[in-house]
């Protein structure tokens, strides 16, 4: 890479000056950032909507067992792959934060524009799960440890454990109770009942279904630990997935 301070590009030189070269690098950086962000947003959004789907769409699906189990596990895929890319290629500790921010931006556009703007579902029915503190956790564990193995074990476990507590500040208000026609409902249940979803009958909710009853009402910690454990395994797989696909070999054309 050559740089010259002379006016005009010397023969065989690409850049007229060092300033021009640096300007190009910075501009290219910004374009790369925007493109990367858009690609991650689109791909992670599709992935998360397909796998977390209704658990993330609706407030009356956000239970204490299935939601904190499923949502972190499926979110871990892109977080791990993105970390692999940003860390091994650039030593940037932003992989997980970037993908969850991208996902959240995509989800908020979708929820506001489509769910509210087009079909009038109130936002308190359709707001997405909060994930960003989990992104911070994963990125900073990787940065401090410098090890993807430690990140998988410590970061993966924390990823699962953090999910419910970081969502509770919004969710708590919708778990207040009301008596409707003599039936006990939480506000989350009631919002789901009031605001008609023609294609989403009540029975497809999976509210605390399963056989694990030993821990009584303390469902969340068990679900969170299980989720954290599976997130570790998912991290291993998807870190390598990210590594395999973090390559420019598909873009290397001899003629260029």
């Amino acid at each position: 890479m050559s740089a010259s301070t002379e006016t005009g590009s010397p023969a065989g030189k690409t850049w007229k000056s060092k300033e021009e070269f640096l300007g190009c690098v910075i501009l290219t950086d910004w374009i790369l950032l925007v493109i990367l962000f858009a690609v991650l947003l689109g791909s992670f959004h599709i992935h998360y909507m397909l796998l977390a789907g209704d658990w993330d769409f609706w407030i009356d699906f956000k239970d204490r067992r299935m939601w904190p189990t499923v949502a972190p596990i499926v979110a871990m895929c892109f977080a791990a792959a993105s970390q692999s890319f940003f860390w091994t290629r650039f030593r940037l500790p932003i992989g997980a934060t970037t993908v969850v921010l991208a996902l959240l931006i995509g989800e908020w556009i979708n929820r506001y524009d489509n769910f509210w703007g087009w079909t009038f579902f109130p936002i308190n029915l359709v707001f997405p799960s909060a994930l960003i503190p989990m992104g911070f956790w994963l990125d900073i564990v990787l940065m401090i440890s410098g090890s993807w193995l430690i990140t998988a074990v410590v970061g993966g476990l924390g990823w699962g454990l953090l999910f419910y507590p970081i969502n509770w500040p919004v969710l708590a208000q919708y778990h207040q109770a009301a008596e409707i026609d003599g039936v006990l409902l939480t506000l989350a249940d009631l919002i789901g009942f009031n605001y008609v979803r023609t294609g989403t009958p009540e029975y497809i909710r999976m509210v605390e279904r399963g056989t694990l009853r030993t821990f009584g009402k303390d469902v969340v910690p068990v679900a969170a630990f299980f989720s954290g454990f599976i997130s570790m395994l998912v991290y291993f797989l998807w870190w390598n997935m990210g590594k395999w696909f973090s390559t420019t070999k598909y873009l290397e054309i001899e003629e260029v």
Partner: protein, 429 residues
Amino acid sequence: MKSLNIQSLARCVTARAVRLWIFGLAVAGAITTLPAATPAAAHGERSQQAFLRMRTLNWYDVKWSKTELNVNDEMELTGKVHVFSGWPQAVAKPGESFLNVGEPGPVLIRKSAYVGEVPVPRTFSMDVGKDYEYKIVLKARRQGRYHVHVQINVKDGGPIVGPGQWITIKGDMKDFTNPVTLLEGSTIDLETYGITWTYIYHFFWMAAATAWILYWFMTKGIIVRYWQVKAGKGAELIGQDEKRIGAITLAAVLLAVVVFYAAANKEFPRTLPMQAGLLTGISPIDEPRSTVAVQFKGGSYTVPGRELRIRVKVANNGKEPVRLGEFTSAGLRFLNPEIFTTRPDFPDYLLADRGLSVSDPNPIAPGETRDLEVIVQDARFDIERLSDLAYDTDSQFGGLLFFFSPSGERQKAEVGGPVIPRFQAGAAL
């Protein structure tokens, strides 16, 4: 080679290219988001297979208490449903069902729903061969004209859509309120409850994430970092100072999580888990056994003529003579004009007020058994795609026959069975 690629890429990055790119994004965004969505005119009920609509749930006595409302007005959608005895094998039985409304989004909200006397905000169980009465209280939310159906979703069977009516709502959705009294006594507006805080909480974290990403991006960007990592100097990029910044950030994040969590618990000390579970034991309609028995003897469907002909043996075990007045199936009503001299209040697209005739119009006397040929003929049969019965894998029809006595008493009888398609006009049974 790599630097060549980057140089080539950088050469493409002109101000004009960037402007064009941003303009293209803006146009794509505008095209995909700005045009108003057109209202849905129907909810796909015609696309459901004919045998499924005819032989699962037979809707009758469906009424919409109002067809014009102002925002915040309430209306009732009431009626009865017969769970067909010959429920198709291809469709799961209605052991887990949900009373629903077919409408284009929550333009009316469902304030309450009952089957019989039992409130059904959740899934309930129905028995095959029984009749159930339902009531849904709806509250107008968004201005416009909407097609509103009763609907029962059956687990593993899908939505089974009942008759629909056009409902006009006047006013403005911004005036809509949905007051709910909490168990602890206070009243909230569920339409907007908690939304501002939800925005604040989410956007706080999104702003924090943006700051974190930009901080690292602004220190050496992407390309320079790539070169350094490639040159084996990756360790220099994350030194003790960087790790210290990370540790402080992580501590702040975790502290914020704890503070938010504790604040939520303090503000909402009494919370419950979501309520779910199957409602069983809902009683069907308690009605006397029908005094009219109908036995299906065979039938055919003439595809070009849109005509269903069925042969039935009718036994009148009552004390009054009866005449066949109505056949209903899949939400459609075919009326015998000799019985229905005035047109009932029912959506026109589902009401064939001259669609039923009988080979022998004389009343069936008490104690008499008579063979009848019943002819159901109307374009609505075809418009609602019930003629597709001929192309179903299970070409059996089903429905309800209503007989009427001179005193106005109504007797209901289920009828159904295989019908043979006739593809030529004028084909006889």
